[in-house]
């Protein structure tokens, strides 16, 4: 068989159809629109089913903890009456140490049910470990493909830890160099093994995360007598926002403000061998966050079920230094030592809480485990070895790939609002570009409005403006 790059990519649709058990063609409506809810319903799991299945392997029902000391600290630098109560969902309590167990749990159960002998996932992060862990519990084989090294064979400590974790769970791990050909390798391995594609973007992945949004809403209601006023979510590929927001809605939270937070790595190229080790965060950053909002379907499945823009009320950015600072605060003030990447949303929450009334409730919906490689001292040691300047000061002076500035005071932790209007505009522009030569129908306009959390009037006007620009 021809295994050249071009030949394997040309077999993509057939490989993915066999690898996911989903015929995506069935859900296509036009060159722009598809039946999103139909695709989400296709594996036939209700929220109750998802909860039951995840419970079988010890996933979910994680602690919902009020961060009282941190709240007091935030209030000390907030305007009078401001500084809301901050709660955290301690997702590190899941079997492999992150919310990604919810994401993997349902998919691996589904793979076993469909009769697959093993699963393949491309992930350099917690998701790989979650897939390996869940596969071990369900008696399936796991192959995890990781982007680990630059061309000097230098790897981020956080990713090296993920290799170790996946191998600890008995997975076969491919440690690859920098490049989007990770997808090519995934297709080859799927074709060779006939295993299930445990993509982050299949319906079961998102359905698993719905349990997180639902659970935190229930815990807030039972413990505090009210739904959260704001839920703050680390954003990369969009699954965390999508699943959590859908779960919140299923719990009846229609007023809760959904905020996405990413680490600002603007200016660094994600496929660059040179830039690869000049960042301290391997996920939860703008390098994934922005493209996945503006072009969600450019991923490893024909249609992506993680559609962050559908659910996002606000999108904010924080710097690497602010997240490291927050990670230290969580350990020192609350006695909870967790991994930095999972604290991206907590860094955003510290700034956002200052805008909110004291009686309001803000929920940070995840933590992740920490270990060698996955903690500020380890990641900053690595940053310095790779030529990054690290200093204390005003985090506004942070320059991705050059300088990490650790705040000196909590008041210096701030968020930068990213204009969602700009994202919506790019999203519509990309959708039209992907369907070049096709004139959108009323149904397409309706789809684009739903998919970008806007109105058909806004979409129509944007389409007109874009056509005028040509």
């Amino acid at each position: 068989m021809d295994n050249s790059y071009a030949a394997v990519m040309s077999r993509k649709n057939e490989i993915l159809r066999r690898g996911t058990g989903i015929d995506y063609q069935e859900y296509e409506i036009s060159r722009i629109a598809f039946n999103y809810e139909g695709l989400m319903d296709s594996p036939r799991y209700s929220l109750v089913d998802a909860q039951r299945i995840l419970k079988e392997t010890g996933v979910g029902n994680t602690p919902f903890v009020e961060l009282k000391n941190l709240t007091n600290l935030v209030r000390s630098v907030s305007p009078p009456g401001k500084g809301c109560r901050i709660f955290i969902k301690d997702e590190a309590a899941n079997p492999s140490g992150s919310f990604k167990d919810r994401r993997a749990g349902l998919s691996i159960h589904h793979a076993a049910k469909l009769g697959y002998k093993g699963v393949v996932a491309a992930s350099s992060g917690n998701y790989g470990a979650a897939v390996a862990s869940q596969a071990a519990k369900r008696g399936l084989k796991a192959i995890i493909l990781q982007e680990v090294y630059d061309s000097r064979k230098v790897g981020q400590p956080e990713i090296l830890e993920k290799t170790r974790a996946c191998e600890a769970y008995g997975a076969e791990v491919w440690q690859l160099t920098v490049g989007p050909e990770l997808f090519y390798i995934m297709l080859r391995v799927l074709e060779e093994t006939g295993f299930f594609s445990a993509s982050l973007y299949v319906p079961t992945s998102i359905l698993g995360i719905e349990t997180l949004g639902y659970e935190l809403a229930q815990q807030a209601l039972q413990q505090e007598g009210r739904f959260p006023d704001m839920v703050v979510i680390t954003h990369a590929g969009g699954g965390n926002i999508t699943g959590t927001a859908r779960g919140l809605k299923k719990a009846g939270c229609h007023q809760t403000v959904v905020v996405g937070v990413s680490v600002d790595l603007r200016g660094l190229h994600m496929a660059s061998d040179f830039d690869f080790n000049r960042k301290s965060f391997t996920t939860g950053h703008t390098g994934f966050g922005i493209p996945f909002l503006t072009l969600p379907d450019r991923t490893d499945v024909p249609r992506n079920c993680a559609r962050g823009l559908r659910y996002l009320d606000r999108y904010v950015l924080v710097s690497q230094g602010e997240v490291f600072y927050t990670t230290e605060l969580l350990a020192k003030l609350e006695g909870i030592e967790r991994g930095p990447a999972g604290n991206t949303s907590l860094a955003g929450a510290i700034a956002l809480a200052r805008e909110m009334d004291q009686e309001q409730i803000l929920v940070v919906q995840e933590t992740e485990y920490t270990s060698a490689g996955k903690l500020p001292s380890s990641q900053l040691t690595f940053a310095k070895e790779n030529g990054i300047e690290v200093r204390q000061g005003n985090p506004k002076e942070n320059i991705p790939g050059k300088t990490i500035v650790i705040p000196e005071r909590v008041a210096q932790v701030e968020v930068e609002d990213f204009n969602i209007g700009r994202i919506r505009y790019s999203y519509i522009e990309n959708a039209l570009k992907m369907a070049k030569g096709y004139a959108p129908t009323e149904e397409d306009l309706q789809f684009l409005a739903e998919d970008s959390k806007s109105t058909t009037a806004y979409v129509r006007e944007t389409v007109r403006a874009l056509n005028g620009k040509k």
Binding site: S76, A142, V148, W174, G179, F274, L329, K332, S377, T381
Partner: protein, 96 residues
């Protein structure tokens, strides 16, 4: 010289794509280098020396071939060195 024998845990290397086989859309610095891969497993050859072409059985029982890189590969990522930019954080707050 023999570095290892059948059954020992080893690390192998494979070149997946040479630079000219990689897509043209890559940034120049990425396109200039090969796409490479490392995999661990148990040696299937009766004996081998670093640099030999060998076959391994991976942790899930699949057979893969590649160049022998090392024997009993270690995990050497660490907790890092103490960072002076972080050490003041708890102390500053406890003084309050």
């Amino acid at each position: 010289m023999v570095d290892t024998k059948k059954g020992n845990l080893v690390l192998i290397h494979k070149t997946v794509l040479k630079p000219d086989e990689r897509p043209d859309t890559l940034p120049a610095c990425t396109k200039a280098v090969a796409y490479e891969c490392w995999i661990k497993g148990f040696l299937l050859n009766s004996q081998a020396t670093v640099g030999d072409e060998v076959r391994i059985e991976t942790f899930i029982g699949r057979e893969i071939s590649g160049t022998l890189v090392s024997v009993h590969p270690a995990y050497d990522h660490s907790f890092g060195k103490p960072q002076k930019e972080l050490l003041s954080i708890g102390r500053e707050l406890r003084k309050k």
